[in-house]
């Protein structure tokens, strides 16, 4: 297999990409991604671990270069990228570039921080984010055949140095230095550790390293120029069976960004359609929690694989007994999110707060949630990357209502209201007027001369 020049090819793409090269629908998708991730970031900043991280980074006392989103302070470029990535990751509320990559929780915090610090324009931000999506989507493909699956496929660290280099205005050599520097020590996540707040480091640590390495590369500090494809390099270190050629296939011709999915609910992608179907059914049929006899959720078999990593019983036990556990494993478990959605008629960041996590009514419904594998949904996922579900709720009077969600909301085929998500996440964190101004700026990003104006809208006060 010819693996030569992959790092260089991706760096050339990053340096050469122009706004006018990008199709309109890819620009629209990227703006949606930005809106959705900024909503997730504001919501994450308003969680208990998010507030702790913001206070810790404030205490670093770094030079104020870029906004810590959802707070009232600025910090260094790398500090802002790091803490905003924590916020973006904390609620599993980010994007997916189907089927193997998650990108925005790292690329967007990095781009916003660097863009503000260097006074880049909205147009430059869009180009950098598209480059990140195109590279990240391909790299996810190239390394998905190993033991790491889903968000544990270590894509973030390979994306951030490219995105950052673009916004720093680097030439090809310096971009290669930045990438080589960022990848000199590969980062692999410990899945078992996702029970703790540190799961947010999944994107935040690669973001910190990527922005730092790119920043240092600007001084002429060199990095290895074949970091991705070297026989002992990134592909080999991150995947037992990599297919490196996939990292450059169709670059600049086929747009990976078309496969971006945004999350309408803070939960693992596998559970989006079950939650959507449940909320629709309880609302459309005015089903009270006490009337629910059983909720049957049909899903692709792969959903059950992801949804059985952690068991609700263990998670709730450990939440009470162990200092290191938090709500995060329940984002991947499948009964709590559906039960919470059935009882509250919503699944928002509120359902991940203690007041709802231990609600007796939700726990009573949880016992009545049953998952069933379904062949048609499995086939649709395997052949068409469609994350679907069929939900049936049986009430105590013996009636059953059903809802089929062929593909989860947030995809191109079943679009979501990303602006609604953003405004809902912003509520109580930043002023409503600022949130609406931020939305206007994102919609007209091409006209924004200084990205700092957008970041200012995402701060308190």
């Amino acid at each position: 297999m010819d693996m030569e020049g992959i790092t260089r090819c991706l760096a050339e793409f990053t340096v050469q990409l122009q706004y006018d090269d990008i199709p309109d629908h890819v620009i629209s998708k990227t703006k949606e991604q930005l809106t959705s991730i900024l909503g997730a970031t504001l919501a994450g900043a308003d969680t208990e671990p998010g507030r702790k991280a913001l206070e810790a980074v404030r205490a670093w006392g770094d030079q104020p270069e870029a906004a810590a989103i959802g707070s009232d302070y600025r910090t260094s470029m790398r500090g802002a990228a790091f803490v905003n990535s924590i916020s973006a990751q904390l609620l599993e509320f980010e994007d997916a570039l189907m089927p193997y990559s998650h990108i925005g929780a790292a690329s967007i915090p990095a781009a916003l921080a660097v863009g503000e610090a260097r006074k880049r324009s909205g147009r430059e931000l869009l180009v950098a984010l598209v480059a990140g999506n195109e590279i990240g989507g391909r790299i996810g493909h190239a390394i998905h055949r190993g033991i790491r699956m889903g968000n544990i496929i270590p894509v973030y660290q390979a994306v951030v140095p490219f995105v950052t280099s673009r916004l720093l205005g680097y030439d090809l050599t310096t971009t290669l230095d930045a990438v080589g520097g960022a990848l000199i020590q590969i980062q692999i996540s410990i899945l078992s550790g996702w029970v703790s707040n540190s799961k947010a480091y999944l994107s935040a640590m690669p973001t910190l390293v990527g922005v730092t390495a790119a920043s240092v590369a600007g001084s002429g500090f060199t990095g290895f120029h074949e970091a991705l494809e070297d026989p002992l390099g990134y592909f080999t270190q991150t995947c037992e069976r990599p297919v490196p050629a996939e990292a450059v296939e169709g670059l600049g011709e086929i747009w990976q960004s078309e496969k971006l999915v945004n999350k309408p609910f803070p939960v693992c992608g596998w559970t989006l359609a079950p939650v959507e179907g449940t909320i629709d059914l309880v609302k459309e049929n005015a089903i009270a929690p006490a009337d629910i006899e059983k909720i049957t959720v049909k899903v692709p078999v792969q959903s059950v694989m992801g949804g059985t990593m952690w068991k609700a019983k263990d998670a709730f036990h450990n939440l009470e007994e162990r200092h290191d556990w938090c709500y995060i494993p329940l984002l991947f478990e499948m009964t709590y999110p559906v039960a919470a959605a059935a009882v509250d008629g919503e699944l928002t960041p509120r359902q991940w707060r203690e007041e709802r996590l231990f609600d007796e009514e939700i726990h009573a419904v949880m016992e009545r949630v049953v998952y069933e594998p379904d062949i048609a949904l499995t086939t649709a996922y395997v052949n068409e990357d469609k994350l679907g579900a069929a939900v049936a709720i049986t009430t105590r009077d013996g009636k059953t209502v059903e809802k089929h969600i062929p593909i989860a909301r947030g995809s191109t085929e079943n679009p979501m209201d990303v602006e609604g998500k953003f405004l809902s996440c912003a509520r109580g964190v930043i002023e409503d007027g600022k949130a609406r101004e931020a939305l206007q700026m994102i919609n007209g990003l091409e006209e924004l001369v200084d990205m700092g104006e957008l970041n200012a809208c995402l701060m308190q006060g």
């Binding site: 033991i147 694989m305 990593m309 499995t378």
Partner: protein, 127 residues
């Protein structure tokens, strides 16, 4: 002695593998398992699982030259064969162990044990 219900589950796994492998053998989840011999452990009992692109066969005993050793407690076997757990669940509960040179086989075999069980259940339910 492997409990009879686990033996039955393994037999069902082999039957499903034999039925579905023509459609699955190119899939990246399956490919690392093809042409592999895997020692299976359940307490003190040992079986040898041989997986090829055409069939899955279980025989008594173990092979010192097998590609991996895949073991968990009896309830872990039942959970996988019922489609309720996989390698990730069981390792995170410290009920399975692994090492880097065998991890891919451990993960993929557990996934196939779980997925084929779920497929059987789905097919039995008619959809």
């Amino acid at each position: 002695m492997i409990p009879p219900d686990i033996q039955e589950g393994l037999t069902a796994f082999c039957e499903t593998w034999n039925m579905m492998i023509p459609a699955l053998k190119e899939n990246y989840l399956v490919e690392p398992l093809l042409n592999r011999r895997i020692n299976l452990g359940c307490e003190d009992d040992r079986r040898l699982l041989t997986l090829t692109p055409t069939e899955a066969v279980i025989t008594e005993g173990e092979d010192p030259f097998a590609h991996a050793f895949f073991a968990t407690d009896p309830e872990g076997w039942r959970e996988m064969l019922r489609g309720e757990s996989n390698f990730l669940t069981l390792t995170m509960q410290h009920r399975m162990s692994t090492r880097m040179d065998e991890a891919l086989i451990h993960l993929r075999l557990s996934i196939m044990l779980q997925l084929l069980s779920l497929m059987r259940r789905a097919m039995a339910a008619g959809g």
